[in-house]
């Protein structure tokens, strides 16, 4: 447990010293959201209709901004060796990296979502489901993204490749995440969508660390 916590602590310290990783995605979301009423030129009704999809797509795009950083910096400065060359399982180190990444980038997205909801006239009854769906969905972004980041860590400009790699895997998350919010906005129960999302989270929690660990080893060859 100790190496795991040390790695989380180190990454959180790094993240809090280099705050751009935290506020960049939020500023990006805010800027794009304010463009929607201007571009659509229509009233609150249309905005409320598209709000669930817009907020979820923005959450996805905002996470993509930081996904490549999960392993790239560690590869570039060589500190990846500190958790590869030990008898502690590499998959646990992946877990620690993903946890730290989610705390620094995913959690702020969840907490910021109501602000976007207000700007898009999302019915106030849906805020709870919106935040809950993001709370389950954003860790999946970090998990799946870690595979992409591990695969592209040795490339100079791997951002686009990473996006192409992980986007198809993240599409189901978007479908059920936005679906949950749509259902609740219509006054229906969102539990089916949320349960499917939770299933995906469990699946990525159990499988992704091994995939990312294998990807790191391939990249060091």
């Amino acid at each position: 447990m100790k190496p795991f916590l040390s790695l989380v602590k180190r990454d959180l310290t790094l993240g809090l010293r280099k705050k751009s990783q935290i506020y960049q995605p939020l500023v990006f979301q805010l800027l794009v959201v304010t463009m929607f009423p201007l571009g659509l030129g229509s009233g609150a009704k249309t905005l409320a209709l598209i709000a669930p999809a817009v907020i979820w797509i923005l959450a996805l795009l905002a996470s993509l901004l930081t996904l490549d950083q999960i392993f790239k910096n560690d590869y570039d400065d060589g500190s990846v060796e500190s958790y590869v060359l030990t008898s502690y399982p590499l998959s646990m180190a992946v877990m620690a990296k993903v946890l730290a990444h989610w705390l620094l980038t995913g959690l702020p997205l969840v907490l910021f979502a109501p602000v976007l909801g207000v700007l898009l006239h999302l019915p106030s009854s849906s805020y709870g489901v919106l935040m809950l769906s993001l709370l389950i969905g954003t860790p999946i972004f970090s998990f799946i993204g870690s595979i992409g980041s591990a695969l592209t860590m040795s490339l100079k400009h791997g951002g686009l490749l990473l996006t192409v790699l992980v986007m198809p895997l993240l599409a189901p998350v978007l479908i059920f995440g936005a679906g949950a919010v749509v259902e609740s906005a219509l006054g229906n129960s969102a539990s089916q969508h949320l349960l499917l999302l939770s299933g995906m989270l469990v699946l990525s929690f159990t499988l992704v660390p091994f995939a990312s660990a294998a990807a790191i080893k391939i990249n060091l060859e």
């Binding site: 060589g78 060796e81 060359l85 060859e221």
Partner: protein, 209 residues
């Protein structure tokens, strides 16, 4: 009794074999110097031995068990410092030294870390960010780890690069001490007459014909 036994080991880049296969055995208190022309594959060989890459040709045994099967034991007993120092530029020296070893499960108190920095001549730099250190100081910060670990096998890639005269002397003393304590040393270095005195084995990598 040999602890490390390498048989016909070589490395590949794509389809090409980098150098003529090499064999060596190392026992307690012995040391191996790997030399050869630039680009011959010294670093690649060292990284393969350390376990960062897989061994593509030949095999290495550690305590009579193939490295592939005794990986955990090997990682517990061997310590590698490569070209990339592994320092985080946003962390200060103390944090760098402690976090790197703690991630490997080695507990280092603040006092121990301060003493280690003192030994490598970084006293007074404890709270300086690693990003603002000179190349030689960054190297010293990485080498400070050696004073805090108990691993038997040290694998060092060009540890003398960027160090000043005093730094080289200090490192040489540390390496000698390690060998005298029955440690094993695997090292790459360009011509450095003073390191040769303690070296028991030498490998010169040659182009594959």
């Amino acid at each position: 009794m040999p602890i490390i036994k390498a048989t016909d080991v070589s490395c590949q880049r794509g389809q090409f074999t980098l150098f003529e296969p090499v064999s060596f055995t190392l026992a307690e208190g012995q040391s191996l110097l790997i030399s050869g022309a630039n680009g011959i594959g010294k670093t690649t060989l060292l990284e393969s031995i350390a376990g960062l890459r897989s061994i593509q040709l030949g095999n290495i045994e550690y305590k009579s068990i193939d490295l592939l099967k005794s990986k955990d034991q090997w990682f517990d007993d061997s310590f590698f410092i490569g070209h990339k120092t592994g320092n985080k530029k946003e962390l200060n020296c103390l944090e760098n030294l402690r976090s790197f070893l703690q991630i490997q499960g080695i507990d280092v108190s603040e006092k121990q870390a301060e003493d280690a920095l003192d030994k490598v001549g970084l006293a007074g730099y404890e709270y300086q960010f690693a990003g603002s250190l000179s190349a030689g100081q960054k190297k010293r910060l990485a080498l400070a780890r050696l004073t805090l670990i108990k691993h038997t096998v040290w694998i060092l890639d060009e540890p003398f690069v960027n160090l000043d005269v005093a730094g080289c002397d200090w490192l040489l003393k540390l390496l000698n001490q390690h060998i005298d304590n029955k440690g094993i040393l695997i090292i790459t270095a360009h011509d450095n007459p003073s390191i040769r005195k303690k070296i028991t084995h030498e490998l010169v990598l040659e182009m594959q014909r």
